[in-house]
Symmetry: C2
Subunit: 181 residues, 2 copies
Amino acid sequence: MALVHYPVVNKSGDTIASAVTNLDLHDISRAAKTYGVKRFFVVTPLTDQQVLVDRIIAHWTTGAGGVYNPKRQAALELACLTASLDDAVAHITETERDAPRIVATCARVCNSSIEYAALREKLKTGKPYLLVFGTAWGLSEQVLEEADFILKPVAGRSHYNHLSVRSAASIIMDRLLGIDS
Amino acid sequence: MALVHYPVVNKSGDTIASAVTNLDLHDISRAAKTYGVKRFFVVTPLTDQQVLVDRIIAHWTTGAGGVYNPKRQAALELACLTASLDDAVAHITETERDAPRIVATCARVCNSSIEYAALREKLKTGKPYLLVFGTAWGLSEQVLEEADFILKPVAGRSHYNHLSVRSAASIIMDRLLGIDS
């Protein structure tokens, strides 16, 4: 999985780099650990944000946080800071000896989106997949265009589709990797 | 739905009142709005925490937040502060003219837990149900004992069961009320 802070769009549709949210790292790491995700990439090119991410991860993996709460340590150990999505792809390609298929997520309906059941089947093949989430108002068009697949948006019972990225990532992992749903 | 800050347990199993987390209100309101939940009760008996919850809700419903982001306003309008779970039950009983069945959630496996499919069917009857989530280390034994049902824990692909309450609430709403999962 990857949580992207650049390139994403703001409320007006401009491409921006968003700020890192501490609870995104916690919530998404914990869900990733629950669902057996191998690695959680936190993507930001901003140096000051990289320092922050490094500090948060270090506190919970090698610092005092890990001693206080080993369950949180086990989750945050999945987190890996990269400067770009390409760096995350390179990391997976090296570790898995195979380039990952990139699955972008998007709250808007796209023509060619892949269904949950279809992606669930693909994941069973054991080939590497990288599931990509955007912060702020979502992934930039460029990331969506370059992805191998765009996952169908999460549908609830209303036309309201403004879940937090923490909620969306949790629900999507459950739909793709959950048991007994 | 209700998010309970008292009575819940801490790491050692003692019954405590937990502090309110701003992002819990946002994430769970947004998910509740997505899944057509009628009301999101934020339960705390602590006066200073009630002031905080009131301020957060007011900022996003009648204050500047709602003007800045009407989508967030639509979500936070579901939030309703109560001093106890009993008060939430009384509120529903008055509004729905029928006492709700109480469904407690718990990360531990219980003998008599209800399955998602079974609860999904019950929800279709249109009778009022109150889905209850605990903060901190979860709902106290007393709440679990007094509930009509205890929902089966969310199962991932590992033995790790330490989702945030924001993630668990989102996933459970999707399992019970989601479409196309």
